[in-house]
Subunit: 199 residues, 2 copies
DNA sequence: AGAGTGAGTGATTGACCACTCATAGAAGGA
DNA sequence: TCCTTCTATGAGTGGTCAATCACTCACTCT
């Protein structure tokens, strides 16, 4: 929150240094994740997003044509981060057997979604499929993920499907905050799901 | 939509027959599913819900104290329908081996979520966990489901977890409307997921 | 120094939303 | 028939939201 101070108020003087629009867009995409994560597309106001990025709400509308385009841009940003994370996991496994590569990717993914915000934005987008533009963004997100996993692991269709099934289970457990609940049902769902505490 | 005509305008005369508040609440819970399914808790207006039930928005506020209570009631209603469905699946399997019972439950569940609305409400609720009352409703929904599946099937923890993992996969596929897409990634995700067309 | 370009904002607007209230009308019992 | 209780609505109210606009200021180039 209030990145403005970090990037612009390094000295005590009131001098301010302008960013380029592209830098600002990048800042917004990073900071908007936490805003949209909590209340989703409909429940998050553009004023909230602007505040998180340290800019005025009016300027947000110069950076993005409307709220929908802003949300789609944030989803695409998340998609890219997830792909980078899967690539990282695959690289770590080297050229092993498919199950070993999948396991390494799963491990990397589990570490990634220790950042709850990123995961929740993806889930929120999944639920906002009634907006065609958002639905398209979600479909393209999963299209790329599935094809990347297939290419990087060389696993069978069944193995890939199970990989994603466990991923969705993981998402749901984190979304409903069941990870820390000490009850049989919660432990059963979270069985063997690595839980990296938030940093 | 417009249930009012069905229950109240069976004759041409302008005479109207009142329902009891309890009947009305039941109607609202049934019809509100489709409203909340599309745009979630924040994106759905109380006017929309009232219209679906064929009553005025003002009267909705006599039946439910506020929007949150209304949404939670709808989620609880969905939870109950899912439990009935699982029980039906278990009954159909008789007293077979755990995997057979789970398969029968999965079959029943797949048939249930041919009704896209019911599934989407549950997913929307899962995403609205930032409201404590809604998060509690979701947790209690899954708590009962997991424990019911455990008791009815006698399966191991791992089997139960995989049962729910496949359930979440199924949910995600339906939510992102990937069932009908004719592309490798979509076919991989939907592999073996029975797809009952909407009635 | 002065002109031109792009970053950035305060104030506003019209639409819409959750929620309220006063009141009309139906059902049913004495 | 009159009276009470409950269903049901029209007409608001205050507040909030996405989107717009006129404007200021910072930086760059000449």
């Amino acid at each position: 929150m209030c990145e403005w101070f970090i990037t612009h108020m390094t000295t005590k003087s009131s001098r301010r240094t302008l960013s380029t629009a592209e830098e600002r867009r990048a800042t917004v995409m990073r900071t908007a994740i936490d805003a949209f994560a909590a209340r989703g597309y409909y429940g998050t106001t553009t004023t909230e997003v602007a505040k998180h990025a340290g800019i005025s709400q009016a300027y947000l509308y110069r950076l993005f044509p409307d709220k929908e385009a802003l949300f789609v841009a944030v989803v695409d940003h998340c998609a890219q981060r997830i792909r980078e994370c899967l690539a990282d996991g695959a690289a770590r496994a080297g050229s092993g057997e498919p199950p070993a590569v999948l396991a390494s990717m799963a491990e990397a993914y589990a570490r990634l979604i220790a950042d709850r915000g990123l995961l929740m934005v993806v889930m929120q987008a999944n639920c906002a499929a009634s907006e065609p533009a958002i639905r398209d963004a979600v479909q393209s997100l999963y299209a790329r993920q599935v094809e990347y996993v297939r290419a990087a692991s060389g696993a069978t269709e069944e193995q890939i499907q199970e990989f994603f099934a466990r991923g969705f289970l993981c998402n749901a457990v984190v979304a409903m905050e069941a990870e820390d609940i000490d009850a049989p049902w919660a432990r059963t769902l979270a069985l063997g799901l690595r839980h990296y505490p938030a940093e």
